[in-house]
């Protein structure tokens, strides 16, 4: 059951982005999409609206970049509850640290190992 929900929720979240790309005025690049999703995820998370989506869709809500924004927001909130103002600054990044570091390290490795293919 969770696999089906992951598929449906994940797919639907992506379709929103596709509609944004196809129907809005030109100039929406992947960069815009990435920023939009991470910010929207953080905002919805802060309003308590993203967790229900995660409960329902599991990875379907966690894997899209809005899920990353959700981790950032929840990390900041937990940080603030535990450490006050220090937590506001360190909480978000700590929660996302694994993913970001992985991206940098694997990016560097891929650059070492692979060349762009034509």
């Amino acid at each position: 059951m969770t696999l089906l929900m992951a598929f449906i929720i994940g797919g639907s979240i992506c379709v929103i982005g596709q509609l944004a790309m196809d129907l809005t005025k030109p100039g929406i690049t992947p960069g815009h999409i990435l920023v939009g999703y991470i910010t929207a995820g953080a905002l919805l998370s802060a309003l308590g609206l993203y967790q229900p989506l995660v409960d329902l869709g599991g990875a379907g809500a966690a894997i899209p970049l809005s899920g990353f924004g959700h981790s950032l927001a929840q990390g900041a909130i937990t940080g603030v509850q535990e450490k006050g103002i220090l937590g506001a600054f360190s909480g978000g990044v700590s929660a996302a640290a694994g993913g970001i570091t992985a991206a940098i390290v694997f990016g560097y490795l891929a650059a070492v190992l692979f060349d762009p293919k034509d």
Partner: protein, 156 residues
């Protein structure tokens, strides 16, 4: 003075007319086909993430750590397929279905890293690695700090 105003008006009227012409002639993207591809590919990538997550939970990791490790593994997969040169082909078909999942974030970091290797590791790879995904981190961090500060203010 009045002539300049009239010229401006004429120019913008002409531009508006041309804009309508362009919109009429320009082929529209196949929205339904694109959305179907985005739905299916995005959904499948999430399913892969769910399978990995289920496995990590089954071997005893707590929810937090399982989620983190799941993200790391998906980033690895996105990086791998970018390195192998297939992620861009997927992107052409799947559009948002490949950009939105965290694998797309990995692709946006790995692609410029690979591309600019020819300019060296410091000023090529090092400097350009965040050229596309940088804004994501900036806005993500700013949003998280703001949310933290607002939460702090509402607690007190």
């Amino acid at each position: 003075m009045i002539n300049m105003d009239n010229n401006e008006k004429l120019k913008s009227a002409q531009q508006e007319e041309y804009h309508h012409l362009v919109n009429r002639v320009k082929p529209k993207p196949p929205v339904v086909k694109n959305c179907l591809w985005a739905f299916v590919v995005g959904g499948l990538i999430c399913v892969i993430g769910q399978i990995i997550l289920n496995y990590l939970l089954s071997i005893g990791l707590n929810k937090q750590d399982a989620g983190s490790l799941d993200a790391i593994i998906m980033v690895f997969l996105g990086a791998l397929f970018t390195g192998l040169g297939v992620y861009d082909d997927l992107g052409q078909k799947a559009g948002a279905g490949s950009i939105v999942p965290i694998t797309g974030f990995a692709n946006a970091i790995v692609a410029p890293a690979m591309e600019f290797k020819r300019e060296g590791y410091i000023f090529g790879v090092g400097a350009k690695i965040f050229s596309i995904a940088g804004p994501t981190l900036v806005f993500g961090f700013v949003a998280s700090v703001l949310i933290g500060l607002i939460k702090l203010w509402t607690i007190n």
